[in-house]
């Protein structure tokens, strides 16, 4: 091989090494960056005034002057909107409308009672002509009444009286048959069948028209209700009394975060869903733009008011909400923080460590220092290796079947059972790494200690263990990181999806929320998963931070101790 080729080969190997390093760094960046960005969004975000209201009312945060001021400003900005709602729903015009409709109805009824001759003529007509004549007569009678109703319906749209009008029309429809009967009786003497015939002829069409007009209003009213629900989702309930009557925290407060508020505005206010019936009578829902649907109505004004004063009503405020890590969650993590999950993870991990580390170290000492080279020890080694390869879900089932159901370490799931299960899971890894660490202690240390009259156990305790400690700790801490992140073993043995932070005395009997399980739970089984996306990312970031900081602690510890103990 010439020098040239050798150099070329060297260079290409270097290039490959560098590029693989770069690739790894890029992979880490692609993996970690979104988690860091989205995760920090869980506690650094644009909060609305609702967020502060929630904290002050539920978590005993100080209601500072600036918060009071923001609440005040938001209330001032919301007041005109609620004013508009009230005006729209309880219009002063309704009495007037009712009067004018009743007046035209009275006129029509009067006309009926005065048209005795006409009606006699109609009933005496032969059957085939009678229908047309009756319809024409009815149309003539109700003409001005229908015109008046139509006028009202038309102006209801712009006056914002559709609510009251629908009510009025419903009453009119119910009353009209009896009133007709009366008027026919006043008009003259008709036989039973004649009376019925006349009444049917006079009421059928007008009832249908009234129903149809009312329906047209109802559609608009339903759309308005939807719109109003959207607004209350955004802003929360209007009054304290209303708030008291609601049960869920998510109903008691508006949107706590600006990103969610904008989402709600886009999905439930800017666009709304209305329900129609198609030609077959099946209900169909369609999305319409609020602005177009309510064009020319007071609702359009409300909408443009919300749009224009959105910030004033929500009072966005850039917040670092460290309470995310230390507050209890409210209403399935929609409000509050993730403290119980963090604490649960801490309990489980530390518990697993307290069980696994001593056992693992003792087993490793046996393997490294005492075990003879026979088939029994080889068998033990195979067992440890096999245990390391068992899927974690199997450990979870084992924990449930053996620890909880058979040994009954606790009545049902508990931190204790979970810790033991996790400890069994990481035990093989700890044994392995500790054994390697012990074996890497130079034999000369052993000889020196024994040569100075130390017994085997003394030599292990005073020289070998201290020298192996950095490497052992590294292995143990890395296993700790694994225990912190394991989900499957704790599903059956320790984890619940909701629950308060446990006191230290409760860990023997109580199940706990824990980060890995709750990440799964909140992503897949939460009823409003998309509304708590920031919490998902926040939990993931927290878990990764815990595991990474454990690993960094291991690296730091090793570096520190190696400096002290190695050449």
């Amino acid at each position: 091989m010439t020098t040239r080729t050798r150099k070329l080969l060297d260079k290409s190997f270097t290039a490959i090494a560098y590029s693989s390093l770069a690739l790894m760094a890029a992979a880490v960046a692609v993996f970690l960056l979104p988690i860091i960005i989205n995760g920090s969004n869980a506690f650094i975000f644009d909060a609305t005034v609702e967020h502060e209201k929630f904290l002050c009312e539920n978590l005993d945060y100080d209601e500072t002057a600036s918060i009071k001021e923001r609440v005040g400003r938001s209330q001032a900005a919301r007041a005109p909107l609620y004013e508009m709602f009230n005006k729209f729903e309880y219009s002063g015009l309704s009495a007037q409308i009712e009067r004018s409709i009743n007046a035209t109805r009275a006129e029509a009824l009067k006309k009926i009672s005065e048209s005795g001759e006409e009606m006699s003529r109609i009933v005496s007509l032969p059957r085939e002509k009678r229908k047309a004549a009756a319809d024409a007569f009815s149309a003539e009678i109700w003409k001005s009444y229908i015109a008046e109703v139509d006028r009202m319906v038309k102006s209801a749209h712009s006056d914002g009286t559709s609510f009251s009008l629908a009510e009025i029309l419903s009453l009119q429809k119910d009353g009209i048959s009896d009133l007709c009967k009366e008027s026919i009786a006043k008009a003259g003497k008709f036989g039973f069948s004649q009376r019925n015939l006349l009444r049917r002829a006079l009421t059928t069409d007008v009832t249908a028209i009234l129903t149809e007009r009312k329906e047209s209003l109802r559609r608009e009213n339903a759309a308005y209700e939807t719109f109003k629900r959207g607004v209350s989702e955004l802003l929360g309930p209007e009054t304290d009394a209303e708030k008291e009557s609601l049960k869920l925290t998510r109903q008691k407060y508006g949107q706590p975060r600006m990103d969610l508020a904008r989402e709600v505005f886009k999905n439930s206010i800017e666009q709304i869903t209305i329900h129609d019936r198609d030609e077959n009578g099946n209900e169909i829902s369609t999305r319409v733009k609020t602005e177009e649907f309510f064009k020319g109505t007071p609702v359009e004004k409300m909408f443009s008011y919300i749009k224009k004063n959105f910030d004033a009503m929500m009072q966005p405020h850039y917040t670092v909400y460290l309470g995310f890590f230390f507050d209890n969650p409210y209403d399935s993590n929609i409000f509050g923080g993730i403290w119980p999950m963090i604490l649960g993870t801490f309990y489980l991990t530390v518990g697993a460590m307290l069980i696994a580390a001593p056992l693992g170290i003792i087993a490793a000492i046996y393997f490294a220092e005492y075990a003879a080279n026979n088939s029994f020890v080889s068998f033990l080694r195979v067992c440890v290796g096999t245990l390391a390869g068992v899927p974690s879900i199997v450990f979870g089932l084992f924990g449930l079947a053996f620890l909880i159901n058979t040994l009954k370490v606790s009545e049902s799931k508990s931190v204790l059972a979970g810790s033991i299960t996790l400890a069994l899971l990481i035990l093989p890894t700890i044994i392995r790494s500790c054994e390697e660490a012990l074996k890497s202690v130079p034999n000369s240390y052993r000889e020196a200690a024994l040569g100075l009259g130390a017994g085997k156990w003394k030599a292990i305790c005073t020289v070998i263990l201290p020298s192996a400690l950095p490497a052992m700790l590294t292995g143990i801490i890395i296993s700790m990181g694994r225990a912190a992140g394991e989900t499957a073993p704790i599903i059956f043995t320790a984890a619940t999806s909701t629950g308060a932070a446990l006191a230290i005395t409760e860990i023997f009997t109580q199940a706990t929320p824990a980060l890995p399980w709750n990440i799964y739970n909140i992503c897949s089984e939460h009823e409003m998963a998309e509304r708590v996306a920031h919490v998902q990312y926040g939990m993931v970031l927290t878990l990764i931070a815990i595991v990474l900081s454990l690993n960094f602690a291991a690296i730091w510890l090793r570096a520190r101790m190696q400096k002290r103990t190695r050449v």
């Binding site: 130079p442 020196a448 020298s467």
Partner: protein
């Protein structure tokens, strides 16, 4: 500790088939006595039927080419070979008449009486003070002032005190190789052994450090019985009173150093010390 050994001795006096007097090569002043002593590593016969005695208070050098069994023999004296798997001995090796390989012998007591210095300096990754105090502390609780005295005395004897007295709490790993080796000697001296075994103590050191260690051996002779394995012919000639030449597991020649180096009886010894092989 002597009490334990006393008991062992009384109980198993019948084991001692050959009394020191019965061995023609041994004088009354021998502290370590080997007769017909063999060592096997598995099937490999490493030391073959060796009989020799280490005279009390004298320095005995063991020389021979690599793989001749000299280190193995040395390490048998405080049973360091127990650590080697498949190591087996036959024959008799006795310390002051007590069978070193008797199954009921307390190895810990033996090793306190027979200290060892290894080829490569192997101080513990602890402070200088802790290194020296290690063996003393193992014996049991001791007052701090007493311990301080022992540490100082041991370091002085190892000619290290002046160099380290200001940094007794510094890590021993930070010392130079020669200092480390002298620290190991001090550590061995701290438990006041009767015999000091040195397994090529200077092979990893520079000439200057070697010279200091040799001076030290000369100073310690008389007070301690020293057995030193070395590859360095001059060293053996300089420091020892007696020299044993091992070759392929056999003790070829044993006698006063002066005689061995000036007038060896055996041709192989002559070839080796004159550098014709080895």
């Amino acid at each position: 500790m002597n009490a334990t050994l006393e008991i062992e001795k009384k109980k198993h006096s019948n084991i001692m088939k050959e009394s020191p007097e019965a061995n023609p090569k041994s004088g009354p002043g021998n502290i370590v006595e080997a007769s017909g002593f063999s060592v096997y590593y598995g099937k490999f016969h490493a030391v073959k039927n060796v009989s020799l005695g280490l005279e009390r208070g004298k320095v005995t050098a063991i020389i021979g080419p690599s793989g001749c069994g000299k280190s193995t023999f040395l390490r048998c004296i405080n049973r360091m070979n127990d650590l080697v798997e498949g190591c087996k001995t036959t024959g008799l090796l006795a310390l002051e008449g007590i069978d070193i390989y008797h199954p009921r012998l307390d190895v810990v007591e033996l090793r306190r009486r027979v200290g060892m210095v290894f080829q490569r300096p192997n101080p513990f990754p602890k402070s200088i003070y802790d290194n020296v105090a290690y063996g003393v502390r193992l014996k049991g609780a001791i007052r701090k002032s007493e311990l301080d005295d022992i540490v100082e005395m041991s370091l002085r004897r190892a000619a290290l005190w002046d160099e380290v007295k200001d940094r007794l709490n510094a890590n021993a790993i930070g010392m130079s190789g020669g200092q480390q080796q002298r620290l190991c000697i001090a550590r061995a001296l701290a438990i006041s052994p009767e015999v000091l075994l040195m397994d090529e103590p200077c092979s990893a050191l520079d000439p200057k450090s070697t010279a200091r260690i040799e001076d030290l051996i000369a100073e310690l002779a008389g007070e301690y019985t020293i057995a030193i394995v070395t590859h360095n012919m001059q060293q053996a000639a300089r420091v020892s009173d007696f020299t044993a030449f091992f070759y392929e597991g056999n003790l070829v020649e044993f006698g006063e150093t002066k005689i061995i180096f000036t007038n060896p009886k055996n041709k192989a010894t002559n070839d080796y010390i004159t550098g014709r092989f080895g």
